[in-house]
Amino acid sequence: MHNLLSRVNNISAFLSSCMMCLMGAVALSSLLYTADPKGTLTIKSASIKENEIRYYHRKQEMGFVGFKIDADLTPLFHWNTKQLFVWLEAEYTGSDGVTNEVAVWDRIVRRKEDAYLKVNGRQQYPIKDMQKTFNGVPAFNFTLKYNLMPHVGLLTYGEAARADGIPYNSTSRHI
């Protein structure tokens, strides 16, 4: 500490330890916020159409969906919330008996003022199976999920609403 250089060196070393502790404390503090908001999800329409995947130039069946979301996610915003990633997931058991999860719609919420979701929308990403057809798929479960991304610390996930057992094949099937 006798000259300027060694003072700068010592103090900045201690400063960086303090910063690390401060960031650690901030990351830990977000564990105290355990809000688990719930909303409603209504599936208005669900249909299957044959469509072309441009990338492969091949035709296959795709699932389309119209939905309504009413969910107040404002409780998730606290001092360490950077943004929410909200998405609508379609989960189904394929004809070969395996689990599939597909995101059909997503939105990034960056401000608390925008966190009351009232969405009347359609899918952004049509549902595509590994098979070319959805024959033998009994039903789809839709879930509204969110990923809370902090300024610093751990990513957390949650579920805000769900609509189970939406039969796709029976609603409408125009090819």
Partner: protein, 88 residues
């Protein structure tokens, strides 16, 4: 190195001053971290926490980095140069 930088940039302080600087810096940084955490928490703003901590660190730099007179109050007292015993 001293030849390059010169005494003004060296900003030397005495031993008591060094102990004092160390004490001030450590206490300051820890207390400021706690205070800015609490303030940011209270106002629910991480930005406030960082601004408060940054500002307090700048003030700390002004307090401890320059060789203020209070860090040079106890200059080392060297023993007087002994006269070489003259040949009898």
């Amino acid at each position: 190195m001293s030849a390059i930088f010169g005494d003004a940039l060296e900003a030397k302080i005495d031993f008591h001053g060094q102990a004092l600087v160390e004490l001030i810096a450590k206490a300051w940084l820890v207390v400021a971290a706690v205070v800015s955490f609490v303030v940011g928490w209270w106002f629910q703003s991480l930005r406030l926490t960082l601004v408060a901590y940054g500002a307090s660190t700048l003030i700390l730099a002004v307090v401890v980095l320059p060789p203020w007179p209070m860090y040079n109050k106890h200059p080392v007292k060297w023993l007087p140069v002994k006269e070489k015993p003259k040949n009898e």
